[in-house]
């Protein structure tokens, strides 16, 4: 009579039970770290005058959802990122933060009754995401490995 004994089934079963939750935890942690990097990169790339555009880039706390978002709440963020139709901006026109176009002109040494920006996009989120994506595959690889170790 042949007796076959399989060892380690209990440990394998435990690993398989724990692995999904462990993987989710590690992947979410890695995703949060990735988005924080995108946030910092975007803040550095954002055009600065008052600094409000950079300050408006946030990663809200993840409250148990399966997605992590990056928010840019400045009203002119979209136009900086994607561009706008060129139009005349008078010097006395008010902008966010209590400033005027004239303040910006003076900081750049410009004179006149206003400016006519080209409307060309000055993306800051897109390049930040592209820069971060280079790191993401290796980060996820490490996260999965750690999840397997944690599940043992």
């Amino acid at each position: 009579m042949i007796t076959i004994e399989v060892k380690g089934l209990k440990e394998v079963n435990r690993l398989l039970v724990r692995l999904p939750a462990s993987t989710e935890k590690e992947v979410m942690s890695t995703s949060q770290s990735f988005m924080k990097f995108i946030q910092k990169s975007a803040k550095l790339r954002a055009p600065r005058f008052t600094g409000q555009l950079a300050e408006s880039i946030n990663v809200p706390m993840n409250r148990g959802n399966k997605e992590i978002v990056i928010q840019v709440t400045s009203p002119y963020a979209y136009f900086q990122e994607f561009g706008f139709t060129p139009h005349f901006l008078p010097a006395g026109m008010a902008v966010a933060g209590g400033y005027r176009i004239l303040d910006w002109m003076q900081s750049k040494g410009l004179t006149g009754s206003g400016i006519m920006p080209s409307g060309q996009p000055q993306p800051f989120i897109g390049p930040a995401v592209e820069a971060g994506l280079n790191n993401l595959p290796e980060m996820l690889n490490q996260a999965i490995k750690q999840a397997i170790v944690n599940a043992k």
């Binding site: 770290s33 910092k40 990169s41 550095l44 600094g51 980060m139």
Partner: protein, 148 residues
């Protein structure tokens, strides 16, 4: 100089321990900040290197019936003008934390280890800024408050 981490001081004392360790790294002793400095000129070479230590992220969970576990991360950002010094400072910071694990464990921070690093290069005016974000993980065990 390390300070003991307790349940009521985990955020500030964890931060202080990392700050005290990293600010002893040669070359960046006067360049470590708790937030990205606003009063510097990013397009001025003299502004670099810049090292920013973020406030730690914490998360709680059960460990045993009487003990809880806080595990979280703390990010360190290094900004330099060139890749070589960015890598050198990053290596020095990682080594400093790695070799201080024993000390950190005695004050309550267990399993402190490097989680991941992320790197990018971007232009600020006419200078290239090399940015590396180093993420460390830690665990902190505490006695739960009993409720009935």
């Amino acid at each position: 100089m390390t300070v003991t981490v307790s349940k009521s001081t985990i955020v500030e004392n964890l931060y202080k321990n990392f700050y005290d360790l990293i600010s002893t790294v040669s070359g960046i002793t006067t360049s470590v900040f708790p937030a990205f400095p606003e009063n510097i000129t990013l397009t001025d070479k003299a502004s670099y290197p810049i090292v920013v230590i973020d406030s730690p992220e914490i998360g709680n969970g059960p460990f045993t019936f009487g003990k809880g576990i806080t595990d979280g991360t703390i990010d360190v950002d290094v900004y330099t003008q060139d890749a070589k010094t960015c890598d050198e400072y990053s290596s020095d910071i990682i080594d400093k934390i790695e070799t201080s694990k024993g000390t950190l464990a005695t004050i309550g921070l267990k399993q402190v280890h490097l989680n991941n690093t992320q790197k990018e290069v971007l232009l600020q005016g006419e200078i290239r800024v090399h940015h590396k974000m180093i993420t460390f993980k830690y665990k902190f065990y505490y006695t739960k408050t009993a409720t009935y």
